[in-house]
Symmetry: D2
């Protein structure tokens, strides 16, 4: 059974995701209640920053466990895969 | 009763937010099930891009209705407020 | 002869761009001298943040002068054009 | 004498940086000539995307050479340092 890097701080990542899910649900309520646009944008920025923080935490664990100390075989593809994921993230 | 710019495509914005909420809930499941980190990062990028699209749609409506044709009084603060929101978004 | 919004703080924008040009030239020197990768990334982030600040300053002036108070005719296209530019910027 | 990861494609990175330097110099000319704001924003986006591409190329080499196969000693700090650089980049 494979265990990936983020297993270490799984609880922390899950707690962050739960908070972000609440923020996105809050966004629906704000739009439904015609809240002022700029306040909604502030909440979107908060949720977006939350997602980026989760991504960075996962990346740190991934590089630490899967790239720096690959379980077996070549790690060439893992580096390429990791930087491709970073590139998509940087552009998101 | 105030109506803000995004009232026009409220349904579209709400549908997008519902989808993003599902993506974030999916992220919790993925982490819970120890899915491969890179696949989780891809889903984070998708949710993050979704949030940015909602933000751009709200901004378009906001600039169109609140900045270009302010309901009353000076629009000076509205421009400053809008660009401050854009700046936070660009940095998120 | 048309004068655009950023004419007001042209000197400030030009000074920022001059600094960014120097930062990019510095990046070439750093790469040429085999400077440690992380230090180069820090300098890239500084230049990138500088470009974003110039973009926000130009956008503020553009929304203030061309969108909020269009010189003539409809401002519909100007809003679309502005938000399209914001979208490209947010994704850059 | 230390050789860092990006030494491999140094010429490519230097060529990209030279192009970006030209784009930033072009930006100064555009502002000086009162070019339409949206066209300047498009050029800023191009330079910004160019810088991000250089950053990703350097990161790929860094992770490949310095993190995945560290020259000596512990690589713990290198991962932390790399993800901190990625975080600054993602937020820039």
């Amino acid at each position: 059974m494979p265990t990936y890097g983020y297993s270490d701080n799984k609880e922390d990542v899950l707690a962050r995701l739960k908070k972000i899910e609440g923020q996105v649900r809050g966004l629906s309520r704000m739009v439904d209640n015609d809240v002022y646009c700029i306040d909604i944008l502030t909440q979107i920025t908060a949720a977006s920053n939350g997602l980026k923080k989760v991504a960075i935490a996962l990346l740190d664990d991934h590089i630490r466990h899967c790239v720096a100390e690959p379980p077996e075989g070549s790690n060439k593809d893992m580096v390429r895969e990791a930087t491709a994921a970073i590139e998509r993230l940087v552009k998101s």
